[in-house]
Amino acid sequence: MENLSLGLEAVEEIASLKISNRKIMGRKPMDFFLFAFTWLGIGITAAVLLFVVGYVLINGLPHIRPSLFAVQFTTENQSLFPALMGTLMILGLALVLAVPLGIFSAIFLVEYATRGSRFVKIVRLTTETLAGIPSIVYGLFGFIFFGVFLGWGLSLMSGAFTVSIMILPLIMRTTEESLKSVPDTYREGSFGLGAGRLRTVMRIVLPAATPGILAGIILTIGRIIGETAAIIFTLGNVARMPNHLFDTGRTLSAHMYALANEGTHPGEAHATAAVLLLVVILINALSSWIAKFVKS
């Protein structure tokens, strides 16, 4: 028995030497299993993506009708228009708050701070912490702090501030990466001409890093649009358009959540899911398209 299996192995050894490494047949059993599992893994991943995206789009797209975009939300016509406007408002406000802050922080970390100093370490640590906090904890914090403590209640302001804290680490990280990818020779060239640090950063480094920063901001937009748990306790989940900064409303994903939970309007729910997914696909495509500029 022992001898036989050894002999078989030797035969296989020879076979696998003769036949090209890439061929499936003629592999040792172990190699074959590993090979098969690798393909199985990638197959499942691809299937998950195709199934989720395919299902949502195929079931959702036929339900997208003009009435979905009616200005007024009524019980009969569950328009997603107010939620769309709410999303845009949260998006605008959160970006206005977080983008300058994130970019300035990244500039400080990359262009000004002494590498490895205690301050930089603390900022790194807190940024990583922020990035790891789940959105429900942000929702809870926003509810306690902006809603109750500052008395802003369920409002655009509470929502936008909460979300802006959430996206801050994302913007900082992508901006840092982009700034670091600007070659030092540009900085040397500028300093060598007698330009100060501020001018070097503003006129040379930042323009060169812009595509990368933009790609990061666009990814962040995707994150904001998809956010739900942090939104429903800060902005609220009321189906109307906010009229002022301290008014409540809802975003698309909160709208989606409400529709799914009520379960009374499956068509609208399908359609809203499809719209959300389309927006995310668009954003991902846009982001990687811009990121290509960084490489070329």
Partner: protein, 307 residues
């Protein structure tokens, strides 16, 4: 040859100069940037302070033992019972399930992308994985509700809203996290290591799985830990498919529903007040502490991977 003084040249108008006129611009800009960098510190400080100030007294009132090990969550009884053990256990089961489904698939996919993937497949696969990461959790949750719940109901029994369903869904959702971080860890392993193994007669598969993958161990572990963090923290998708009964479950009851720490907050915070609200905030504190521990572990593993 005239001596030019090395004095300060007085500059003309430009935007950033106008913006900061009257100050020492360089200094003012540095202060502005440094202040901005403090924002992250301030945010973490505020989050910690407000969660703990509001959550810890509640834990004190309920009694930390009663709170963490109590098996009854009855916020509307008089007197109410606030035991979150069912939720801790629920989070545990669902996270474990997600790891069970997501990690093997994720790691094999990562290996494929780093070592087996033809170029033309990679250019499609990479954006696809990024897209998987970008899909909002409500969309995943909705997909779970309309596809996975009936699937589990029809093929495994129960009403479909179950630990199993939530695990399957979360397993899908943590895939991109596992794939992305594991892939870069595998790519970071020097090519010589692979070459050395192949030169000794190892096949491509053998060299990849028995030499390269073990070398990337800490990076792969880091991806799993981060995946655990994602799974523990995920709220909307879980809440939409897990059934959400605040009842102690045993592992074999995976076809029944369970509630996680996150869904406990998201379900009840909207209408809770007084002690009930405080107990929910305390639930958030427990969740927050779990996440901090997981992140610390992730940081440690990542550091080890970098060295």
């Amino acid at each position: 040859m005239g001596q030019r003084p090395l004095g300060k040249a007085e500059p003309n108008w430009s935007f950033e100069r106008w913006l900061l006129r009257g100050f020492n611009r360089e200094f003012a800009a540095k202060i502005l940037f440094a202040t901005s960098a403090c924002a992250a510190i301030l945010a973490v400080g505020l989050i910690c302070v407000f969660l703990f100030i509001q959550g810890l007294p509640a834990i004190g009132n309920i009694g930390i033992f009663n709170f963490l090990t109590g098996t009854e969550w009855r916020p509307t009884w008089t007197p109410p019972l606030f035991g979150i053990l069912p939720m801790i256990v629920g989070s545990l089961y669902i996270t474990a399930g997600a790891i069970f489904f997501g990690v093997p698939v994720g790691i094999f996919t990562a290996v494929f992308m780093a070592k087996f993937c033809p170029r033309f497949v990679y250019v499609v696969l990479k954006p696809a994985v990024n897209l998987l990461a970008g899909i909002p959790s409500v969309v995943y949750g909705y997909f779970g509700m309309v596809v996975l719940v009936p699937f589990v109901r029809n093929h495994f029994g129960g009403n479909g809203n179950s630990i199993l369903t939530a695990s399957l869904l979360l397993g899908m959702m943590i895939l991109p996290t596992i794939i992305t971080i594991s892939e870069s860890a595998i790519r970071a392993i020097p090519q010589e290591m692979y070459g050395g193994a192949v030169a000794l007669g190892a096949s491509h598969e053998r060299a990849t799985f028995f030499v390269v993958l073990p070398a990337a161990k800490s990076g792969v572990m880091a991806s799993i830990v981060l995946g655990i963090g994602r799974a523990v923290g995920e709220t909307m998708a879980v809440r939409m498919v897990a059934g959400n009964q605040a009842v102690m479950r045993m592992p074999h009851e995976f076809l029944l529903g369970a509630r996680t720490l996150t869904s406990n907050v998201v379900i009840e915070l909207g209408y809770a007040y007084g002690d009930h609200r405080a107990a929910l905030i305390a639930t958030g504190v427990v969740l927050f502490v779990f996440i901090l521990l997981i992140n610390a572990l992730f940081g440690m593993l990542k550091k080890r991977g970098d060295n």
